[in-house]
Symmetry: C2
Subunit: 430 residues, 2 copies
């Protein structure tokens, strides 16, 4: 039964380098797991002359994707280039050649997952992508297999390490956003152009993948409502602390009555919730199932070796499937129709911070306005703000997003309100 | 491809009842996952007249195991009776009949896992047991598949909910062990005879299973060194708090240089370690892999529906394997030789609490004795204890268990030491 499996590797950046390293150092274990010796036989790179952190025989390096896609000896393609194109085209071509594919490419999966999976199934090929979400945490397998017999109703994820690092530093050290972002860039935790991380786009892609697998509904990246952390201020964080909350960039996917909501936004999490304690660059995915209740999965969200080992765990699965002759037969496609909630179906608690005139009756007028919009109040915090003004923090009971949006609009126009400072979703207290 | 799969259920206690409930309420989802309708067709019980929390047609109930084992229509047997015999015999008989088995029976797996798995493989049958460890947390799948490409070097588990509940209450409310145990019994969290939980035996069985799968070494329950929580005092917990530690019953499995250690013992965990915040009846398994680094998996360790859904996730896997024709072909057996560490190979930090004479030079004499035994000191805390005595807390740097045992023996005989109060392992600060 044992044999040799040749791999084509597309991309030799951080993750690609990790893959080459691990295949070498874990050769014996991989053999014991799969009855096969695994060899990275060709590597596609952009610049063959670039200096690498790992030794690769020059004969293996190529700049021509066809050297991998049309090499008949290569059975599995590992794609770690990132980006939509040309990765999408290469992968589709690989399926046409009957090759199995392992990828870490969240952008591609969140945009074209359905197309790729259908092509793979049609050609009897495997397509696995564990590394695309939460790096070293095997959360996709957990959703698909571990919770196959449960009905998942809520997924909360800290799935972007860069923003979690920034918010952790802001919370723990009282530093402003810009300064911590600069530090994160200096440490290599944030990219030179941090938009995708900071504005929540990266997290949105991962949440689309999690919601698709968790709810059996085809959610795409543009179904995810998305708000980043660049407007989060130190004042917000400090007022949240007073109320027992920690600020996190949280991806939330909920299913109620066959309708789903998926969003990424800066969120106050009650300190007692397990996800509130997930700090620095760590990721965590909290899953609530009707039968199982509360679970959480925690680990490194990125990094050379954590991501590489996730890719290789998929490779082990592909090679086992080759031995069993069942490639392409374990695919599961979303079987529930996609129905996205409208804003009047999305319910949450909200934290609202206002600057108001510091005079008698103001709180009464504001709470009156809330009541008129069917918003009830859980907590109030009022502090003087100088110049005859007061800082007013309102935390609502669970209320619809539509009501909150209408209320915020009215508040902006209200003459006793000087400024609407911020509004954040609150999670974790149910 | 779709069809009908008949199940025989052995046991209709808490978990068995949950299984009947979930098969019914999740029928549609199970069908979508497996292309098969699943029917619990026979149920083995001890007392057919007992009142049940769930409706079962009387025709399905039997007291004769042969009605399940020799029913040719039954393809899968679910065993949730517990205990070694007759469960072991029934399962072996079922394999002889070509039936697949799903079980939640940790005692059986930790004692006879190898025998059962070999028989299953010989007969081309599946044997899955996800529910045997950490109830609703799919940790066995995670170890086998999620970390298939990594080398796991450490597993730390809070795998017994009863003791975690007791220690949490003792820590948070300052109550003595006996009172909290009584409360836990009243709440149904602890059994009338709590020995198996309180003395760590239940946890030891689960750690044997985790170590076997994580390290690819055949660890049995009697390889696990085991100490319970009944001697843990409120004073120990309070002194630990002063030093930044939380008391937990921790199962530890470590592998160094191809030697393994597996133990269950009350342990002080540094508060910064993620497992320190796992409270009440929740379970968590912390896994350290060479490539992935730190990960943790958290959820309910027991309970009707969490355990039942874990059993059913295994059933889904079995039914998928039936459709794919690959039952019994995914077995993995330990491929590393079992070499257990001797006490001079087990290294950890230790917390030692002594009552000593409160006179000058005592600390010097004790630290001198430590140095002679190659133990170095990380922290010291001394407090008056009245009657010319002092309470002395010593926390060591990492040191061998053999050295600590020798030191404790010498301390007991030392004339300036009035009493050796306690000694606990300390984890989480590396």
């Amino acid at each position: 039964m044992n044999g040799k499996v040749k791999i084509g590797l597309m991309g030799l950046g951080t993750v690609g380098t990790g893959i080459v390293r691990l295949v070498e150092s874990f050769q014996e274990d991989l053999y014991k797991q799969t009855d096969s010796s695994i060899e990275v036989s060709k590597i596609l790179v952009q610049n063959p002359d670039k200096e690498r952190d790992v030794f690769v025989h020059p004969d293996k390096i190529t700049t021509n994707p066809d050297d991998l896609i049309y090499d008949e000896e290569i059975e599995v393609l590992i794609e770690v280039m990132g980006g939509i194109e040309p990765a999408r085209t290469y992968i589709l071509q690989a399926f046409e050649q009957g090759k199995h594919v392992v990828t870490a490419n969240k952008d591609l999966l969140a945009a074209h997952g359905d197309e790729l999976l259908r092509k793979a199934a049609e050609k009897g090929c495997d397509l696995f992508y564990e590394a695309s979400v939460a790096g070293g945490v095997p959360i996709l397998r957990t959703l698909v297999q571990g919770f196959s017999s449960d009905r998942i109703t809520k997924i909360m994820g800290i799935v972007n390490g860069t923003t979690n690092y920034i918010l952790t530093k802001m919370s723990q050290e009282g530093l402003p956003f810009e300064q911590v972002l600069q530090e994160a860039q200096d440490l290599g935790y944030a990219e030179a152009d941090p938009t995708s991380d900071v504005e929540g786009l990266d997290a949105a892609r991962k949440m689309a993948i999690l919601a698709t697998l968790g709810f059996h509904v085809g959610v795409q990246w543009d179904d995810v409502s998305c708000r980043g952390i660049s407007e989060v201020t130190q004042e917000d964080i400090q007022y949240g602390k007073q109320l027992g909350y920690t600020m996190k960039l949280i991806g939330i996917a909920k299913r109620d009555d066959d309708c789903v909501e998926v969003s990424v936004e800066p969120t106050f999490v009650e300190n007692s919730h397990p996800i509130a304690n997930v700090n620095d660059v760590f990721n965590a995915v909290y899953v609530y199932g009707e039968a199982v209740g509360e679970t959480m999965f925690y680990g490194p969200g990125a990094g050379e070796l954590p991501t590489a080992t996730a890719v290789l765990s998929d490779l082990v699965a592909v090679v086992k499937n080759i031995r069993l002759g069942i490639n392409g037969r374990e695919m599961s496609f979303p079987y529930h129709e996609k129905r996205l909630k409208s804003p009047d179906q999305v319910f949450a608690k909200y934290f609202i911070r206002l600057i108001v005139q510091d005079e008698s009756g103001v709180l009464a007028k504001i709470t009156q306005l809330m009541a008129e919009n069917e918003i009830s109040l859980e907590k109030v915090l009022q502090e003087p703000h100088g110049k005859g003004e007061a800082e007013l923090i309102l935390v609502t009971h669970s209320t619809s997003k539509a009501s909150i949006e209408k209320f915020l609009q009215l508040v902006r126009e209200f003459n006793i309100v000087k400024e609407l400072k911020s509004c954040y979703r609150v999670e974790g207290g149910e």
